[in-house]
Amino acid sequence: MALRRTAIVTLAVLAFGLAGLTTVVAGVPLPAISPGLGDSCVEDTDFMRREHMNLLKHQRDETMRKGMRSEQYSLVECINCHVVEGPDAIPLTVASPDHFCRSCHDYAAVNIDCFQCHASRPEPGIE
């Protein structure tokens, strides 16, 4: 019995250790998401949490097919605002676990393939 309890405690410690960058609020580990550069997002946080993928997909088809370019729901603008700088002040790519999109998608275990084609950081030299 004692052995079993030790095993559970060890597992729990391991799990928290693996979580690494997560913050713990009231016992629930949450991803550490860096805030964007602007004052607020284009929509409120709850809406963006659930709907960002739909906004991006809608915008993608409008831009790609019809040439309707708007900054509001554009992926490029998301990337420009939610930029995370590394220790050398160079914006991180999606290769880093601290990248804005990745910090949450790793936590939620949702794989995205946006960045196989799209740039995951602002173009160097452009503010």
């Binding site: 993608r60 790609m64 097919r65 019809k66 040439g67 309707m68 370019r69 708007s70 900054e71 490029v76 990337i79 790519t93 290769a95 196989q116 084609c117 799209h118 740039a119 950081r121 602002p122 173009e123």
Partner: protein, 253 residues
């Protein structure tokens, strides 16, 4: 004998159409509609406005001004769109290239920049099984890489060999020119620049550092410089026999 006059009177029809054309020209510059229906290449389309079918973007390349040792358009394209070679000429992405031609009889040679010809009847669009290859309302032929499955039918269908396939995993693409492994790509006529009211990178480089051979504009606008030149001087489309009506035209070929 009282013969019935035909309904169709060619003289009258011609007169009417010329009146209609004149009215169109007169109406256009005056009203605000001018900017909406016929944006010139200098005017950026407002955010959230669709590309218009009234426009047909095209290019006129004067080969008398194109030197065979000049590669400015090709390097500008690579810089603009983040194309990097891997030292494998057969498979490296090539959105624009210089083609050297010469006549076996006279020996006269010409150097042509050849890119996607942005056909009015694009065969790449016809053969695409997923609908990824498409022509935008303003005549720009593009690949929607979100639904491209990389089958490369379009590469086989294109008589201009204008398309490339991405074989390698890419990193740090340009934000405005997404490209990725497993998809087909080609000249986008620098659609991101065109939508912002600028000219394609190759045209800009040609006028800045090259011979000023390339002219970009709206083929549908009778007042645009490109239309004027196409109307007043002889120009050719390449492989015109295929009837694809390319948007890229050449002079002095």
């Amino acid at each position: 004998m009282n013969m019935k006059t035909p309904d169709f009177d060619p003289v009258r029809r011609k007169f009417l159409s010329s009146v209609a054309a004149a009215a169109g020209v007169m109406l256009a510059p005056g009203v605000m509609l001018y900017g909406v229906t016929r944006p010139s290449s200098a005017a950026a389309r407002a955010a959230g406005v669709e590309a218009s079918g009234d426009v047909r973007w095209g290019m006129l390349i004067d080969l008398d001004r194109c030197e065979s040792d000049c590669n400015e358009c090709v390097s500008a394209c690579s810089r603009e769109n983040g194309l990097q070679g891997h030292g494998r000429q057969a498979t490296d992405a090539q959105w624009i290239r210089k083609v050297e031609t010469s006549s076996p009889h006279t020996g006269a040679s010409r150097s042509l920049p050849v890119m996607c010809q942005h056909c009015a009847e694009p065969p790449c669009v016809d053969v695409c099984p997923t609908g990824a290859s498409f022509k935008r309302a303003d005549g720009i032929v593009l690949v929607d890489k979100h639904i491209c499955i990389g089958c490369r039918f379009c590469m086989m269908a294109c008589p201009y060999k204008a398309r490339s396939f991405v074989h390698e995993t890419l990193e740090d693409q340009k934000p405005y020119a997404p490209r990725g492994k497993g998809t087909v790509e080609s000249c986008t006529l620098c659609v991101h620049r065109v939508d912002a009211g600028r000219t394609p990178a190759c045209v800009e480089a040609c006028s800045d550092a090259g011979g000023g051979a390339m002219l970009f504009g709206d083929l549908n606008d009778p007042d645009s410089e490109i239309s004027q030149r196409v109307t007043n001087y002889a120009s050719q489309q390449i492989r015109v026999d295929l009837g694809l009506d390319p948007g890229v035209r050449y002079r002095n070929l």
